[in-house]
Amino acid sequence: MKAKHIGLLLAGCAAILWVTPFAWMLIASARPQVSGTLDLASLWPAGPFSLDNYIEAWTSGDFPLWYANTILLCAGIFAVQCATVSLAGYAFARLSFPGRETIFSLFLLQLLLPPAVLVVPNLVMITQLHLFNTLAGIGAPYCASAFGVFLMRQTFRSMPRDFEDAAMVDGATRLQVIRHILLPLASPGLAAFAVVSVTSHWNEFLWPLMAVSNPQSQVLTVGLASFTSGAEAGGEWGVIAAGTALVAAPLLVAFVLFQRRFVSSLVFTGLK
């Protein structure tokens, strides 16, 4: 039993280290601005608290716009992904056709080629498609998710064929089968995929940075970067902490509330 306690103790110390940046973020954002950093490094949650920093961050940055764009982007990507991965996953799970394994490997290969590595040619592609500076341009490279296809294939494979067979005998088309039988049954898997998809696209930076140059279509990550570079020049650390909190809050709060779901999603999808 001793090993277990030592392990717990070390993990506890590590956890304290791990949480420090977040602790500072909360404390510094709630303390009114003090010039210089003499007090800002202190982690002691003392002193008068105020929401001034949040108000200043909200008004000087363009957070409502960035939130709207980011939510639209993530929702849009996931919606399209649902369609593409379900159809493709079904094809791999239920149909046997020549070249199935080869085509599946083509999908798998995509896992190794994230859009970030292909920014240079992808930028050319979306410019040619007249999608530069649009949210659709940011989202397009992510819409075919090999990860999602893999996941859906596993999910469908693990489901008994009885319902589908019965439905098809009754004359339902495959599309109807997918939509009315398989998808509802696969909803835990889809929900897990939603968690992974939204989290990763919410946090994307390099590709949105290059795909969009006009401020109307900026997302939270890019907005935050330009916001902090301006505020850092002013040494306004409290405002920076507040701005960072505004960007990080949604996913963190969701995580704290739905911890179990998040963790099982991330693991479930990863292992599959």
């Binding site: 210089g36 950093t37 140059s213 401020p215 570079s229 505020a231 020049a233 002013g234 040494g235």
Partner: protein
């Protein structure tokens, strides 16, 4: 702001404007977001109200580099903005690659020659605005580096706060007296010089010129003079500050760290831009003054700042609307007001004849120092592929400041790297000889 803008559009539509307003977009960088952005947007709204046939939408595009990137990206995608407030030393690159249009026709239509037009601006800013005799940029906000110093620390060290150092020797002597150590650490460093990318290249060009040299070929963007005694000497001076005189900490210091050190009393002297004057005035609670940069063989201070240009790829209507907007911003009243608000100096000379400006200078002696130093101001370093060529120098100087390499070797390497980057341009111009 957006609500105001849309209401304005709606109103103008209701009042039945005879023709649709020309919609133009304006990219701008500002050093400190927030207050400056709001002020600029106020200026834009005032312009839109006074010009019902033009509608300007201002977009904050990050810092100078980010603005450059976004402008290029927009031009390549076929959505060039109509007006960009571009870092003054990037104008040469835009001219060379024909990514901006010459403004000569607009100047001529207004009844001036190029020389007359440029003559309205301080001499130091004229060179960066033109290339090969054509005007590409209209200067809007400019700065020079100046010396900020903590007067209490001067007094405590036995120095006269009204007699800042005038030469490099005095500078070193004063810095030594102002340095206080705490074991191996600096309790109070005598001097802090910002050494991050962009600012470092700017400052080193000033030091090189103060040391008698010329950093780059002013008339043609294909040559830089890194591996010359004047530049090597300037870099040696910086090296000595850290490793011989021990008045400055080693390593790269960015603007935040430097300003914080000054505000919290951990450094006595700070080399920073006049553009930061407003910000420093707001945040520095300890008493301070400003002074010219000390000289060695001569006084020299490179100008920094930004000018307004019109990118290529805009229709004639947009270009005309853009020109109207540029004239508005660069007018003595507006430019002067912007200068008072930000701490940049107004490159438009007539701005200093206006009563509001005279008043301001009388009440703010620091602002006067910046203007007085303009006599010694030199153009901003600009070549083909300015950023890459500048980084070739900065990488080496940063290594010197960190004690990794000696100045002579560093400058030889910097020259070699810069020449490699300039080669494509050189091969098409100076080395393209008749067959």
């Amino acid at each position: 702001m957006r609500l105001l803008a849309s209401t304005a559009i709606a109103l103008s539509l209701l009042t039945g404007a005879a023709h649709a307003a020309t919609d133009i977009d304006f990219f701008f960088p500002v050093a400190v977001q927030g207050k400056l952005t709001i002020e600029l947007e106020r200026l834009v709204t005032a312009f839109n109200a006074a010009h019902p046939d033009i509608h300007v939408t201002a977009a904050y595009t990050g810092d100078y580099s980010a603005t450059d990137l976004k402008t290029h990206a927009a031009i390549q995608a076929g959505h060039a903005p109509a007006v960009v407030l571009m870092s003054a030393n990037f104008i040469r690159q835009y001219a060379i690659t024909q990514s901006a249009i010459p403004l000569d026709p607009f100047i001529a239509k207004d009844g001036q020659t190029n020389d007359q037009f440029l003559g309205e601006f301080f001499p130091a800013v004229r060179e960066n605005a033109a290339e090969n005799g054509h005007v590409y940029g209209v200067p809007f906000q400019n700065s020079t580096p100046i010396l900020y110093y903590n007067t209490d620390m001067f007094k405590a060290a036995g120095l006269d706060p009204n007699k800042p150092p005038l030469t490099w020797q005095e500078w070193v002597d004063d810095a030594k007296k102002l340095t206080m150590m705490d074991g191996a650490n600096f309790k109070q460093s005598g001097l802090t010089i910002i050494s991050m990318y962009d600012t470092l290249g700017w400052l080193v060009s000033g030091f090189a010129m103060a040391n008698g040299g010329d950093y780059y070929n002013h008339g043609w963007g294909g040559e830089v003079y890194y591996n010359t005694p004047s530049t090597i000497g300037a870099v040696q001076f910086l090296d000595d500050l850290v490793h011989k005189h021990h008045v400055m900490p080693a390593g790269v210091i960015d603007a935040n760290a430097a300003s914080n050190a000054f505000f919290s009393g951990r450094t006595a002297m700070l080399v920073n831009s006049t553009g930061a004057l407003g910000f420093i005035r707001d945040n520095m609670k300890l008493p301070f003054k400003v002074a010219f940069l000390p000289q060695e063989l001569r006084h020299a201070a490179p100008i920094g700042g930004a000018s307004l240009l019109i990118p290529a790829g805009n229709t004639p209507e947009r270009q005309q609307a853009a020109w109207e907007f540029i004239k508005y911003l660069a007018s003595p009243e507006i430019d002067g007001g912007w200068s008072r608000f930000t701490g940049y100096f107004a490159p438009r000379m007539a701005a200093y004849d206006l009563p509001a400006m005279k008043d301001y200078i009388a009440k703010n002696p620091e602002a006067k120092v910046a203007v007085d130093q303009l006599v010694y101001a030199t153009p901003w370093f600009a070549t083909f592929n300015t950023v890459g060529v500048r980084k070739a120098l900065e990488d080496q100087v940063q290594a010197v400041l960190s004690g990794k390499i000696k100045p002579a070797e560093a400058m030889a390497q910097a020259q070699k790297n810069a020449d490699a980057l300039l080669l494509p341009y050189v091969e098409q111009t100076a080395l393209k000889l008749p067959q």
